[in-house]
């Protein structure tokens, strides 16, 4: 098992290298001369030349790439063109809110979507099933910002149950932290919950047809034991897969959600960096998200072995 994890980590290296190459090329794929872009509209040709030399943009591409990778491997993601702060420090500051938002959304999704999918499959074809699946289609079709503004309007402005926007770090207490994250998590989780609920239902429907479910009934097990132990564990592989894939959705959705709820996280930083053409920051963030995604995939593969004893590496 441990050797498998190690082998998988080694296998991610080429993936990360390709990602790095792509991220680095961003600067060149973008229209225009990077030095001109960085220098801004009002720069004189001398300014542009100075920037070109200071950033090493006059050197061959591969040399630049090599030295960039070398610096990243030493923990140096470069310096923001706009703030002159180290990119790693800027990301570090913004990591907390985004991570909090994602974890709360992930937990909310699992706690809500899986039971909904299980019940829908159990009562397949009934009114409950149709209502749940109706909500799933609804949740899947609504854009994050629409849900976000709607929730903020109803629960924050009208009912005043929850704060409209902002973020409080966990260090200032659990409830203040959670309070600020509930609405964003629901807004961000909508699509995700819909997706996971649908997959759970489909996977459960198939499992409930199996002979061993009949055996479980014949043993006198209650409905709960049959659904949540005998069936759900068998349906877990596709569910875990889609939860993992959904993390990519979360990363994209976080950017919008953080804007709607004014959460000072990575999503906001991303937008700001793009608007300012702050390439080192954009590169740092894309690299980080890619790394997280590769890591999540590794975790999914490990979770497979926990839920299904037939999967061994």
């Amino acid at each position: 098992m441990l050797s498998y994890i190690l082998r998988r980590i080694v296998a991610t290296l080429p993936v990360m290298a390709i990602v790095a190459l792509f991220v680095f090329s961003l600067l060149y794929i973008a229209p225009g001369d990077p030095a001109v872009v960085i220098a801004g509209d009002q720069a004189s040709p001398e300014d542009v030349e100075r920037i070109r030399q200071s950033l090493g943009l006059d050197r061959p591409f591969l040399v630049q790439f090599g030295s960039w990778v070398w610096r990243i491997l030493h923990g140096d993601l470069g310096t923001s063109i706009f703030t002159n702060l180290p990119v790693s420090a800027m990301i570090g500051q913004r990591l907390g809110p985004t991570l909090s938002l994602m974890i709360v959304t992930l937990l909310l999704t699992i706690v809500v979507a899986v039971p909904l999918g299980v019940v829908a499959a159990w009562k397949a074809g009934s009114l409950i099933d149709r209502v749940i699946m109706g909500f799933a289609v609804f949740g899947f079709s609504l854009p994050v910002f629409v849900v976000g503004y709607m929730l903020a309007y109803i629960f924050a402005l009208e009912l005043e149950w929850l704060p409209v926007q902002g973020y409080t770090p966990l260090t200032q207490g659990f409830w203040p932290w959670l309070e600020n994250l509930i609405l964003p998590a629901v807004a961000l989780g909508c699509v995700y919950i819909a997706l996971v609920a649908r997959i759970t239902r489909a996977a459960m429907l198939e499992v409930l047809q199996q002979d061993y479910i009949r055996t479980a009934k014949a043993k006198g097990l209650g409905q709960g034991g049959i659904l949540f132990i005998h069936a759900l564990k068998n349906a877990a592989v596709p569910i875990v897969t889609v939860i993992g894939i959904g993390i990519a959705l979360l990363i994209g959705g976080a950017v919008v959600t953080e804007s709607v709820f004014a959460i000072p996280g990575l999503g906001r930083l991303t937008i700001d960096a793009i608007l300012r053409r702050d390439y080192p920051v954009i590169q740092g963030i894309v690299l980080l998200f890619s790394f997280v995604y590769v890591l999540v995939n590794l975790m999914i593969d490990v979770v497979y072995t926990l839920v299904d004893p037939r999967i061994r590496y």
Partner: protein
């Protein structure tokens, strides 16, 4: 007194093509400690009958009517909760497919433990000890190791032994075995049958054996009920049935059994087959259910359904022409 008394059991399914009368008015009983075999070809309603006894038929589209009296209580009148307390405890079941009937993601031990914890209120530790005991009893070597293994680590025969261990863990009064040996190698079949008989004697359970294998019937059953198209067409003690089958369908079934070594002895004849197939159960059947395939059928058979008549000692058959007491051709 009979342990199980089934009266006019009707299990119907609503289908797009009409109501499928999978089991239509079947009555029988099983005495304590007795082995009753239910035989018939595929689609004759024998499996549906067994699933109905356990109330494992999904309702809807299924509907079970009649009476199933087990130890004096009508199972069809019980609440779901009361029924669950009977399943796996007083009545348990072994299925045809050992490869798919065990849950692939739970350990063998857990699957045996479960029934003990639900029905006998044992704690995990005691149930585990009992599970190991059960594995020993069904002849699985190294039970302490096997109890922690998953079904995919066991062979087909081993898995069926585990199924038997699950079924007998709570000392049931009635064991329903639905084609328990059909999916197994011939050598393993004999072992499993012997095991079932040994354990039956040990716990004193009655068995309902559902099969189309007449060799198995001759081996272990005391009484045989023959089903055709959702109805009981004949019933007799096993020796009597094999000696003098009265219903043409039963005669056909017995004629379709290959005789081992007959070609070496020079007595080989062409294996008899029953022409045609089971009628569509979604359409009302007029007359005898077997008339369409019966060589002896007359207009009487095609117009009037024969009732079950006593044809010999404890021997009933539903046929107009099966002579009373006479040995059929």
């Amino acid at each position: 007194m009979a342990l199980l008394e089934v009266e006019n059991l009707q299990t119907h399914f609503r289908t797009p093509g009409g109501i499928n009368r999978a089991v239509d008015g079947v009555s029988f009983h099983v005495n304590e400690g007795e082995t009753l075999a239910i035989v018939g070809e595929s689609g004759c309603g024998k499996s549906v009958t067994s699933m109905s006894l356990m109330r494992l038929i999904p309702e809807p589209p299924g509907r079970i009517a009649g009476a199933i009296r087990f130890a004096g209580r009508d199972l069809l009148q019980l609440s779901d909760r009361e029924m669950r307390a009977i399943r796996g405890n007083d009545i348990s079941m072994i299925f045809q497919e050992p490869m798919t009937s065990l849950n692939p993601v739970l350990t063998v031990g857990r699957q045996i433990r479960e029934t003990l914890m639900i029905h006998q209120g044992l704690d995990k530790h005691a149930a585990e000890a009992h599970a190991i005991e059960m594995l020993t009893l069904v002849g699985i070597p190294e039970p302490k190791r096997r109890v922690r293994e998953y079904p995919h680590q066991l062979s087909g025969g081993m898995r069926q032994r585990v199924m038997i261990a699950v079924a007998l863990a709570c000392n049931p009064k009635l064991l329903i075995a639905d084609e328990p040996t059909t999916a197994l190698d011939v050598t393993i079949q004999a072992q499993i049958l012997k095991l079932m008989l040994d354990l039956k004697r040990r716990v004193g359970a009655a068995i309902i054996l559902i099969t189309h294998d007449l060799g198995v019937v001759a081996e272990i059953a005391e009484r045989v009920m023959v089903m055709y198209a959702g109805r009981k067409v004949e019933e007799a003690p096993v020796a009597e049935l094999f000696r003098s089958p009265r219903h043409p369908y039963t005669q056909g079934l017995l004629g379709a059994v290959p005789k081992l070594g007959s070609s070496l002895a020079g007595t080989a004849t062409r294996l008899a087959e029953i022409p045609g197939q089971v009628p569509d159960l979604r359409k009302p059947i007029v007359g005898c259910v077997f008339a369409g395939r019966c060589a002896l059928a007359t207009d009487l058979c095609r117009q009037y359904a024969p009732g079950l008549e006593e044809k010999g000692p404890r021997h009933v058959a539903a046929c107009h022409y099966a002579a009373k007491g006479a040995v059929a051709a």
